[in-house]
């Protein structure tokens, strides 16, 4: 049985993997999170979280060929599994349920 429970950073990383598709790797995820949340997570935190998600079987990874720009190191790209997609859907439903019935209390700054 796969445990679908995850913390805020795990959820954010899982969402980033879903958004980035096949091009999801540590640096791309970090940039995506920085652009959306304004928080500059360390690469170590991102990969530790990815390792946890992989252990929970919510993502799978594969290594690319060695790249010169990485000093001959490979890049590990992550992809959402079926269980990961189900977990995201469950998280979305849970959030919608929690927020249900609460109207915005301040005007949306982007529509103003």
């Amino acid at each position: 049985m796969i445990d679908p429970s995850f913390g805020p950073l795990e959820l954010a990383v899982l969402l980033a993997v879903a958004r980035l598709g096949d091009g999801a790797y540590g640096l791309a995820i970090r940039r995506d999170l920085a652009a959306r949340t304004g928080r500059d997570h360390s690469v170590g935190a991102i990969y530790t979280t990815l390792a946890r998600l992989e252990a929970k079987q919510l993502v799978v990874s594969r290594a690319t060929d060695p790249l010169p720009v990485r000093g001959g190191r490979t890049r590990r790209e992550f992809r959402l599994t079926g269980a990961g997609a189900h977990a995201l859907d469950a998280a979305r439903r849970h959030a919608a349920s929690v927020w249900g019935g609460v109207a915005p209390t301040t005007p949306d700054p982007e529509s103003a």
């Binding site: 690469v43 170590g44 990485r70 000093g71």
Partner: protein
């Protein structure tokens, strides 16, 4: 010069993390460093790399602890213990040299390096003959010796995580310092200048055990672990 800072990269390689996990992180840092070279210039890119290396170090260290487990901890402790004992021996030799020099210069007023250092740093007595920069330099050299020796010893064994013996040696040094801070510093003439009580017997016994049993235990660890590290690695 477009390479990232070598020292920072070497630091990340000494933390004992799984090589695959480490390469993912170092590869990302290199990739971002290459981009920042174009965006921000070399100086800012290198500064960014060093800062990020410090930020990811705890993650690599934690992975290293998990990966090395009890066996790695034992190996680190053995190397560190040998280094601490080496430092004690160096201490004895240096104390002898300084005492001899002191006696030649100031007459026979028995003391120890620790007593001299304490008198200088804590201002307990103005009467000690060894004071000032010499005592401080000796203290710094003796304090830095075990971590340095243990790191070098581990690296020459082919250890992929030499930072662990260094940390273990630092821990032993800190414990030794705290014990002496709490119970006073022993010396040939007795710690008349020390604020605490006379050094209790068990502290002396522990220090004697460390100096006598330490080399045997440390050497045994090193020999047993050396065989493992010198064995050719079988391909996965």
């Amino acid at each position: 010069m477009t390479e990232p800072p070598v020292t920072a990269e070497r630091l990340l390689e000494t933390l004992g993390a799984d090589p695959e996990f480490r390469d993912m992180i170092v590869g990302d840092l290199r990739e971002e460093h290459a981009l920042r070279l174009d965006w921000d210039g070399e100086h800012a890119a290198r500064r960014w790399y060093r800062r990020e290396a410090l930020r990811v170090a705890p993650h690599l260290l934690r992975d290293g602890v998990r990966r090395l487990g009890w066996r790695g901890t034992r190996r680190a402790a053995g190397t560190a213990m040998t280094a601490v004992v080496c430092a004690y021996l160096a201490h004895v030799a240096l104390v002898g040299i300084v005492l001899r020099a002191t006696h030649l210069l100031y007459g026979d007023t028995g003391t120890t390096i620790r007593g001299a250092v304490r008198s200088w740093t804590l201002d307990l007595s103005r009467d000690h003959p060894v004071r000032g920069p010499i005592a401080l330099a000796l203290l710094l050299a003796l304090t830095a010796l075990p971590p340095l020796v243990s790191g070098v010893a581990a690296a020459t064994q082919g250890d992929d995580a030499p930072v662990f013996p260094v940390l273990a040696a630092c821990a032993v040094q800190l414990a030794d310092f705290l014990i002496q801070l709490a119970f006073g510093f022993p010396g040939p003439t007795g710690p008349v200048w020390a604020p605490g009580p006379f050094v209790p017997a068990w502290v002396v016994v522990c220090q004697c055990l460390l100096v006598t049993v330490g080399p045997v235990v440390g050497a045994a660890f090193l020999v047993s672990e050396r065989a493992r590290f010198s064995a050719p690695r079988t391909p996965a």
